[in-house]
Amino acid sequence: MLYALEAKNICKTYGNYTALNDVNIQVPKGSIYGLLGPNGAGKTSLIRIINQITVPDSGVIMLNGESLAPHHISNIGYMPEERGLYKTMKVGEQCIYLAQLKGMKKEEAKERLTYWFDRLGMQGWWNKKLQELSKGMAQKVQFIVTVLHQPDLLIFDEPFSGFDPVNADLIKDEILRLRDQGATIIFSTHRMESVEELCDYITLVNKSNVVLEGKLNDVKQRFRNRTYAVSLICQDEQRVVNELKSSLEITTGEHTGLDNTSDFTIQLPENKSVAALLQQLTSLGELTHFSEIIPSVNEIFIKTVRSDG
C-alpha cells in the first residue's frame, strides 16, 4: 500500500517526561486517518514532529516515501487546535502572507484565495481585520489558511470546535471533497461521532504509546464480543428471563422496541452459536428485533484506555 505518511519508531522526551515512546503509524494515501487519544497522550507532540516544529529524539518520518525534509513544508497543511491568526492584520493580506510562507507565489495565492472566498461565502471579507470577525468567521479563515497552498497532507486538530452545526457541516463536506481530490487527512479529535462518520483508519495513542491501530472496520471487528440486542413479544417475561439466564448472560436492553416487547441485551457464550440462540428465542415468543451490538469508537476508546491503566 502507498503511504502518505509513515512514522517509524518515533521517540521524544522532554527532560524526564516521555512524550512519545517508539510510536509507529502508517497513513495510507487518500484516507482520513483519525489520531485519537486522551489529553496529554502525545498526539500534539507527534503532530508537531510531522510539521517539523520539533525534531524527534530518534526515529524517522517518511512523507510519500521520502524522509521528511524542510521542503516538505509546502506539502503539509496544519490547523492547530489552538487557533491563531494576527488580530490586527487584514484577512486577505494575512492569508497571502501565510501562503507565501508555505512557498506559494503571491499571484497564485491571490487567485486561490478568491476561489475559496467565493466557495465559503466570504466575499467582502478581504479588507476586514481579523478582530472584526466572529469566532466562527475566524475559523473559516483558519481553514482556508490551512488548505490554501493545496497540500497533499492535511492535519486537522479538532477541526469542528468553534463552528455552529451549519458551518461544521460545510467544513466537513470540504474535508471530504479534498479527500476525494486526493489529499490525505489526519484528523485529531475527541469527538468520537465525527470519527465514526469520517475516518477510514484510526490510531489510538495513550501514555506516549500507540495502543491501537488499523482500519476502523477491522478495529471494530476486533472489538466484536458476541453481544446482541433482542426484542421479544412473550406471555411471561420473567419465565423467559429465567430460561435464558440458565445458558447465557442477559441484561435489560438499552434499545427500545415496541410498547409490548421485552427488550434484552444478550451476551452469547463461546460455545453457543447465533443460530441456536435464534432457535431458542423464536421458541419463547415472537422475535421482533435481533441485531449485533457493534461497539462504537467511543466504547472502544474508553475500554482501551481503561484497560491500559
Binding site: 508537531r48 516544529i53 496544519y78 489552538e82 491563531g84 494576527y86 502572507y97 501565510l98 510562507l101 489558511v145
Partner: protein
C-alpha cells in the same frame, strides 16, 4: 532567505502601520518640544518675581552701595538699627534674606546672611566676591598702596589648550566630546529599550494569539526571530529618521518665526555670550573636525547594530518564556542593569579617565561595551586593537547569545500556561 525577507517585510509594515506607532512618531516630537517650552516657561516663572534682600551695613564704609537692584533681587539698605532690630524688621517684611556687614578685629570684615530659604551658591559667592573685593581694596589703601597701580599690575593667566601635536582646542573641548559620546550612548540605550520592548511584545502577541504554531510549521523559528528583530529595528530607524527630519524642519521654521525672540531669551543670551568670542566658536568647530570622526561614525554603526541585536535577542527570549507582559518583570533586571551601568560608567569613569581600568574593562564586556565604547571613542587615544578586540567580543557573544535565545525561543513559544523561572529556562537549554 525569501521567507526571512517576507517576515521582515511583514514585521516592518505591521509596525509602521500601527496606529500607536504613527501617533508616537508624529506626536512625541511635539510632546518633546512642549516639555522643553514648559520647562523654559517654568524657569522664567521661577525667576520672574524679584526677591528682596535687606542690608545692614555697620562698617560705615558704604558697603551697601555695592549692591544694585537687578531683575532678580531688590536690595533694601537699612540704617541706624541694631542687628536684632534689623532681623526683626527683615523678618516682618518677609524678606528673602538679610545681609549684615560688620567690622571684625581679626578677619577685618564679617558678613552674615540671614535667610530661612536656602540661598543659591551663586548668590552667596556673588555677595562674597563683592565684599571681598572692596575690603581688599580698602586694605591696600590703608597699607599705602595705590589701587590703580595695583590693578595695572594684576595679571590674569589664561590657559589655552593644545594637543601634543600642536592643535589648539577650545576649553569646552571635553564638553564637545562628552556631548557627542554621551548622545550616541544615550541614543543607543533608548533605542534598545524602546525597540527591544517592541520585539518582546510582538513575540508575546504571537504566542498569545497562538499563530506561532502555524508560522513555525512554515519557517524555522530562528528565521522568525531574526525577521522580527530586523523588521522592528527598521521600523525604529524609520521613526528616528522621521524625527530627525521633523526636528530639522521644526528648527528651521522655529528659527524663522521665533528667531529674534530666541536670542532675547536670557538663557540663550548666556550661550551667545559664552561663544561670543568668534575665536572660541572657531576652536569648537576645530575640535569637532579634529575628532576621530571616521572611527566615530563607523563604530557608531557597528556598535549600534551589535548592541541592539545583542539585547533584542535577549528580549525575544524573554518574550518567548512568558505568557503575558506582566510576567516579564523577573527577567528584566539583567537587561536593564547593564544598560544603566554602562551609562553610569560612561558619564563617570569614561569622562574622568577615558583610558582608565574601569572604562577599558567595561568597553570589553559585551553587554556594556556598545555604550561605553561609543562614549570613549571621541576622547581618542584608543588603539585600533582595543576596538578590534571589543568588537570581536561583542559579535562573538551576539552569536552565542542568539544561539541560546533561539533555543529558549524555540521551546518557549510552544509552552503555554506554565510559569517560567530561571531554573525552567536552564532546563530548556538542554532539550
Amino acid at each position: 532567505m525569501d521567507k526571512l525577507w517576507l517576515i521582515i517585510k511583514r514585521e516592518y509594515i505591521n509596525k509602521v502601520r500601527n496606529r500607536t506607532f504613527v501617533v508616537m512618531t508624529f506626536v512625541s516630537p511635539l510632546i518633546f518640544i512642549g516639555v522643553i517650552l514648559l520647562i523654559g516657561w517654568l524657569t522664567s516663572m521661577n525667576t520672574s518675581d524679584t526677591r528682596r534682600v535687606s542690608i545692614l551695613d555697620q562698617t560705615g564704609a558704604s558697603y551697601d552701595l555695592l549692591f544694585y537692584n537687578t531683575a532678580d533681587f531688590d536690595y533694601n539698605p537699612l540704617t541706624d538699627l541694631t542687628v536684632d532690630q534689623a532681623i526683626q524688621i527683615s523678618q516682618e517684611n518677609e524678606d528673602y534674606g538679610l545681609i549684615v556687614i560688620e567690622r571684625d578685629p581679626i578677619s577685618g570684615i564679617n558678613v552674615r546672611l540671614y535667610s530661612d530659604d536656602s540661598p543659591s551658591t551663586s548668590f552667596i559667592s556673588a555677595v562674597q566676591d563683592k565684599i571681598s573685593k572692596k575690603a581688599t581694596q580698602e586694605n591696600l589703601a590703608i597699607n599705602g598702596m595705590d589701587i590703580e597701580t595695583f590693578k595695572s599690575l594684576e595679571i590674569n593667566a589664561a590657559v589655552t589648550l593644545q594637543t601634543y601635536s600642536g592643535i589648539e582646542s577650545s576649553k569646552s573641548s571635553s564638553w564637545v566630546k562628552i556631548g557627542l559620546g554621551g548622545a550616541s550612548g544615550y541614543l543607543l540605550m533608548m533605542f534598545i529599550i524602546i525597540y527591544g520592548n517592541m520585539v518582546m511584545r510582538s513575540v508575546i502577541e504571537e504566542k498569545t494569539n497562538r499563530i506561532i504554531e502555524i508560522i513555525v510549521s512554515s519557517v524555522k523559528p530562528i528565521y522568525l526571530m531574526l525577521g522580527k528583530i530586523t523588521g522592528t529595528s527598521l521600523a525604529g530607524v524609520t521613526q528616528f529618521v522621521i524625527w530627525v527630519i521633523l526636528g530639522f524642519v521644526l528648527i528651521v521654521i522655529g528659527s524663522m518665526v521665533f528667531g529674534i525672540e530666541a536670542f532675547q531669551n536670557p538663557a540663550n543670551q548666556n550661550l551667545v555670550a559664552q561663544s561670543q568670542d568668534i575665536g572660541e566658536l572657531q576652536l569648537i568647530l576645530n575640535d569637532i573636525v579634529q575628532l576621530p570622526l571616521g572611527t566615530m561614525i563607523g563604530c557608531f554603526f557597528i556598535y549600534f547594530i551589535g548592541g541592539y541585536f545583542l539585547y533584542a535577542a535577549i528580549y525575544t527570549a524573554i518574550g518567548a518564556a512568558v505568557d503575558s507582559e506582566t510576567d516579564t518583570q523577573q527577567f528584566m533586571l539583567p537587561v536593564i542593569l547593564p544598560l544603566i551601568l554602562s551609562i553610569y560608567v560612561g558619564f563617570f569613569s569614561v569622562i574622568d579617565n577615558p583610558n582608565g581600568v574601569v572604562a577599558v574593562i567595561f568597553s570589553y564586556v559585551p553587554l556594556t561595551s556598545p555604550i561605553v565604547m561609543l562614549m570613549r571613542i571621541p576622547f581618542g587615544e584608543i588603539t585600533w586593537w582595543q576596538i578590534s578586540i571589543s568588537i570581536a567580543i561583542l559579535y562573538t557573544s551576539i552569536v552565542f547569545v542568539a544561539y541560546i535565545a533561539a533555543k529558549i525561543y524555540r521551546i518557549g513559544i510552544l509552552m503555554y500556561g506554565k510559569k517560567t523561572n530561571w531554573k525552567e529556562l536552564y532546563k530548556w537549554l538542554k532539550y
